[in-house]
Symmetry: C2
Subunit: 267 residues, 2 copies
DNA sequence: CACATCATGCGGTCTAGACCATTCTGGCCG
DNA sequence: CGGCCAGAATGGTCTAGACCGCATGATGTG
């Protein structure tokens, strides 16, 4: 935001590096520019212009620009300039919550808690969470809906050791939120997706008529190295689908340099 | 005029830059080292050692190291050294074929062609492939099996314009292989996964008994910007599941610098 | 013996230049 | 009018240093 039009041409003596690194200042300035000022495809100030504006050397400016280019935010073109990169497809599935997911689809999420208790971990759950069998876990069963229409039955288990007080004030609005608040922000996970037929109980709760097909996901959620949650969700097959972006088959290793090396592409 | 700072003390021979850039040479050397000599976690030569070995400046060495670190092949640790990165989890789903997929699970893939013809594109297919309705497409229906057990019904459409002779010698072993051979190697795609109940016809072909739940995927496959295939597959719900790795929820923008900016991390 | 200190080596940041390769523009000339 | 060519501007590569902060192990010291 603050545009350092005049960067105190020489040495700011008091805090020379306390304020962080110079390239970070340049990067922050550029990031702000990209987010608030420029549109996709717009040109950024040239390296030499930034050099003048910030009173730093060109290598420092390039470090900022290159890091943004590496993040896919910028595209650099020799002889032309540096431009805001076109929005790229995100090739990674994200750990989203049901609430976020539904809102992103433009609907209002709803929740009905069916069951919540702290219990000894069942064998399968203990396996998935790498716990000793019988170690206490919070178990939560919820019926999730979108715009009032039942969509999914969720069954989640979290190690009680990580969040001892989680259920003290009732079931939290968001389990991921509770994990984040406890310092166990989910960082990665794994879904296993399958299909099966709803039990009569499930069919009733989800108000299914006609087709009884369910899309089931079993999810393990991790915060860094610790398993923080195991959950199963059953979605109405007629109302829910998952979109998975796909990348090309995995290349060898060390891509960038190899490209130019072998000119022939006769495969 | 100005004598170049580089004193050409050593080699300014016939082809000084014809052979490529210096940092690429360093990178290639390091890549070979990583692939053939070193194990996960091993230390690489220090920047200054590489500087001596190649007779280049440290910035040039760093460009090679940084690019490999950006590719996730190396991990740099201030004060300690540069190390071969641990094999990382692949957070991206890949465009795999049924055959590859089954073989990776240790089973033998099988195929029975049910139908193959070149026909005018149905409306929905034309939409998905961005064709004019009625434009000719190759249509292929196959029953796929693993170790002789029926697993999946596949229905695929490919623009005939891209591979005019695809069906001349019967149905190719691999549709992706045919695309690659024609210069349309698939580079990305998108699966939409849902669940539904098998029709009697599907149940018969897949020899389903008991549960009639199917896991269905609709896939669009692209080679760069051109849609090269649209396909639907129906998997037996009791025998097939999809594993999707998940990354943490998407951060705002501009991650790297922002991290250090707010000093407080009172955990 | 336990602990503080220091030297060393490492990657991280930064400078003030240089030349190269590519792209585009504008003016010149046929 | 059309095509060619020279600049100018841009990013790409590279140098030969400098100082900083961090991690580690050796060296003393109480």
């Amino acid at each position: 935001m603050t545009i350092p039009a005049a960067p105190a041409a020489d040495a700011p003596p008091a805090t020379p590096h306390r304020a962080g690194h110079k390239y970070q200042a340049v990067r922050a300035y550029l990031a702000d520019l990209i987010e608030n000022e420029l549109a996709e495809g717009d040109a950024l100030p040239s390296e030499r212009a930034l050099t003048d504006r910030f009173g730093v050397s060109r290598m420092t400016v390039r470090q900022a620009l290159d890091s943004l280019a590496a993040d896919g935010v910028l595209v650099r073109e020799q002889g032309r300039g540096t431009f805001v990169a076109p929005a790229r497809v995100d090739f990674e599935m994200r750990l989203t919550t049901f609430g976020e997911d539904v809102r992103r689809r433009g609907m209002a999420p709803g929740t009905r808690v069916l069951d919540a208790a702290t219990v000894p971990a069942p064998t399968r759950v203990a396996e998935q969470l790498a716990l000793e069998p019988g170690e206490p876990v919070h178990e939560v069963r919820r019926l999730r809906s979108a715009d009032g229409v039942p969509m999914s039955l969720e069954h989640a288990w979290l190690p009680a050791r990580l969040l001892p007080a989680m259920l003290d004030d009732g079931v939290p609005e968001s389990l991921y939120g509770a994990l984040r608040a406890a310092g166990y922000a989910p960082t990665w996970g794994e879904d296993t997706i399958s299909a099966s037929v709803a039990t009569p109980d499930e069919a009733t709760l989800l108000q299914m008529q006609g087709s009884l097909a369910l899309l089931r996901t079993r999810r393990r959620t991790y915060a860094e190295d610790t398993a923080v949650m195991y959950s199963q969700a059953s979605y109405r097959g007629d109302r829910y689908s998952v979109v998975v972006p796909l990348r090309e088959a995995k290349p060898t290793i060390v891509p960038r340099a190899a490209r130019d090396a072998d000119g022939r592409t006769d495969r």
